[in-house]
Symmetry: C2
DNA sequence: CCTTGACCTTCCTATCGTTGGAAACTTTAG
DNA sequence: CTAAAGTTTCCAACGATAGGAAGGTCAAGG
């Protein structure tokens, strides 16, 4: 079985199969005389496993651990369960973040006339102080740089400590 | 105001300010005699706008449009509202996707004993056919290569699905 | 004046997962 | 034999961000 067949059978593109091999997620494939990679059904099975895990949002790094557990016939199911639940928790956090964004956007849209006049609270909020919901969501948020018409070049207090605030 | 002050005042890192300038999201900054970029409060205001939009999950590309609308005093508020709602809809789709993942993971975890024995339906499902929820979520999924313990290198129906489906 | 340290400059690299292309080779079908 | 399809490797790009190296600049203090 060449890489194309393996790709179609597993749902992982040939490009990605080579990539997974290069980064060590899967072992080096055996080669035919002409240098073609050859795969058997067990390899396809691994690839399908990988694709399923990617569909569930697991990173390649985590998939490495899952694959190790998969191949370990003496694994404890608790290990896998922990990984799955931890991953689910991470996804939930991401969901909450996105929901806060949606809430803010819809709040702003609801306060926008949506006509042909320029008056638009969405723009105004983005420009002036970020909407309330987003502000609340943000963790260590303090005093949002009120400098406006003022042109003071180096105002007395510098917050935001250069970097590493958010993802 | 130098780039460091602008960064602290706007919440956008100096690295990102230079990047935004390079990709044309913001105009080239004026320079001091020594080549330092200088900013005024209006520039900081733009940066703050950008940061707020990024916090709401807007891509840089969309922010370019938002900035154009911001600077266009004759814009129709409907344009901005449409963008905001379209973006919210996109976020909602993403949320639904993540929720499906969580659902699958928790379903699998609930069926896992989580003890020190190797028996683990999470692994089994990843390996064999992907859990029901994920399968339903996936669109045109068919005939999932049932090849299993068999080790036939080129079994009869490995080219069955020769027709480029999926990416 | 000179040093020190904070700041700024450009340029290069990396991340993560994936896709794209180019140039060359092999296999398969006609 | 030829043409098409498949494969190989290598190189680059995406989006947004972070890190670092090597060097120039500024302000304060001796």
């Amino acid at each position: 079985m060449n890489i194309g067949q393996a790709a179609r059978a597993s749902g992982v593109s040939a490009k990605m199969i080579r990539y997974y091999e290069k980064i060590g997620l899967i072992p080096n494939a055996t080669r035919s005389g002409a240098g073609y990679r050859t795969y058997n059904s067990s390899d396809v099975h691994s690839l399908y496993f990988i694709r399923s895990a990617r569909d569930l949002g697991f990173s390649v790094e985590k998939i490495m651990k899952l694959l190790a557990l998969w191949r370990d016939r003496d694994r404890a199911s608790a290990d896998v369960k922990d990984m799955a639940l931890a991953h689910a928790a991470g996804l939930k956090a991401k969901i909450a973040e996105l929901q806060a964004m949606v809430q803010t956007l819809e709040y702003l849209a609801n306060h926008c006339h949506g006509n042909d006049r320029p008056d638009c609270p969405i723009i105004e909020n983005l420009a002036e102080r970020t909407a309330a919901v987003a502000t609340e969501r943000r963790a260590g948020v303090q005093s949002k740089a009120p400098l406006f018409g003022t042109d003071t070049p180096a105002s007395s207090r510098d917050r935001a400590s250069t970097g590493t605030r958010k993802a």
